[in-house]
Symmetry: C2
Subunit: 202 residues, 2 copies
DNA sequence: GTCTATATAGAGATAGAC
DNA sequence: GTCTATCTCTATATAGAC
């Protein structure tokens, strides 16, 4: 997977495309660290080595810029989780798959890059139109996790009467909150994964 | 506990104090539903039946107003959780206490009122100076939960090697996220409590 | 105490020179 | 493609009349 969205048919990207990429990189970094409201276009432009007005050659609006970051980030996380689970092979137990998925999701948030982090963190802060359009991607991601949890439940790792929708949302809330933890709680994603699974009694 | 902060020595509050209370009520409601950035003083003033400029007779700044809502809200949640746990009496098991605490925290978020909801939700969105001053209150609340989790761990409800700091932060993340859940996942706080405890295998 | 009017600042966005 | 300059809008906050 490329480090950032690439033009559809651009075997050797033009300067325009590379600049556009720098803008997206800067936006992703600022969105991931400062949130939607606190990220202004002047800072994005400065981080990309240009002035605010110049951004509009590459993007129609702040919303369009943010949306592209979010869309790519969420898909990136999704792909990462799925590939990490599939890397285990078809013989992996539901417990092993669940652990791999949790660690991959946490890695997306903490170490995989700004796009993934922004994609998972900022959606709730973004304006309603953006949220609506992001919904399809998130639902597919949610469906994938639903399958993981179903297998875990069938294998007896989760209580048989546990509502899997609530379980998934609680799990996402727990994992996603970790980016806002105080410095005193900073741990490796392996440690986070182990603790979360232990909290679940798995 | 009163519905909102009352003047220190005001057995029969003056009109000024009652108006000030209306402003706080309006601010709490808007902060709880719209977040820090989207809550502007014009809307607060309108909801309190006045114009934006008039707010400055009662509060020095937006930050001062928000901070008073947050401080009261967090303390309110804290008091509610502690009183619900204590209501069980000294013979209650750690499992019963944990359930009562989780449900009380969720009730703070969902049904107890705007102050409590705002206090738990928007601290992370508030400007840094506010966050710093809120820290003492949150740490006391965290310490209280730490005690609950310690007893649960001693009683065998939680894995003996589980890091209780991470456990508490994951738990808070899970509970607090529930206010942002989609409408399709709306449940009673009893159902939420049952699901979260089931996810923990308790 | 609350009003109207306004100062001030910052944001997103546009226009036209280069 | 990027610049500078500027428009517009919204927000916090202030000043002075009532």
């Amino acid at each position: 997977m490329p480090a950032r969205p690439a033009a559809q048919n651009a075997p050797s990207p033009r300067k325009s495309q590379r600049t556009r990429g720098r803008v997206l990189d800067a936006a992703a970094r600022l969105l991931a660290s400062s949130g939607y409201a606190h990220t202004n276009l002047s800072d994005v432009a400065a981080a990309a080595g240009m002035k605010a007005g110049s951004l509009y050659y590459h993007f129609d609006s702040k919303e369009a810029l943010v949306e592209e970051v979010l869309r790519y980030g969420t898909m990136h996380s999704f792909e990462h989780v799925r590939s990490e689970v599939e890397r285990l092979g078809p013989t992996a137990s539901p417990a092993e798959q669940l652990r791999a998925a949790i660690q991959a999701h946490l890695d997306s948030l903490h170490t995989l890059g700004d796009y993934a982090s922004a994609g998972l963190r900022i959606v709730d802060q973004a304006p309603e139109p953006i949220r609506r359009r992001q919904y399809a991607i998130h639902r597919r991601y949610g469906d994938y996790w639903h399958g993981l949890l179903e297998r875990a439940q069938s294998a007896g790792l989760l209580a048989p009467d546990l509502d899997l929708l609530m379980a998934r949302l609680f799990l996402f809330g727990a994992m996603n909150s970790s980016v806002d933890w105080p410095a005193s709680a900073r741990r490796s994603t392996e440690d986070l994964t182990t603790a979360l699974l232990a909290l679940m009694g798995v």
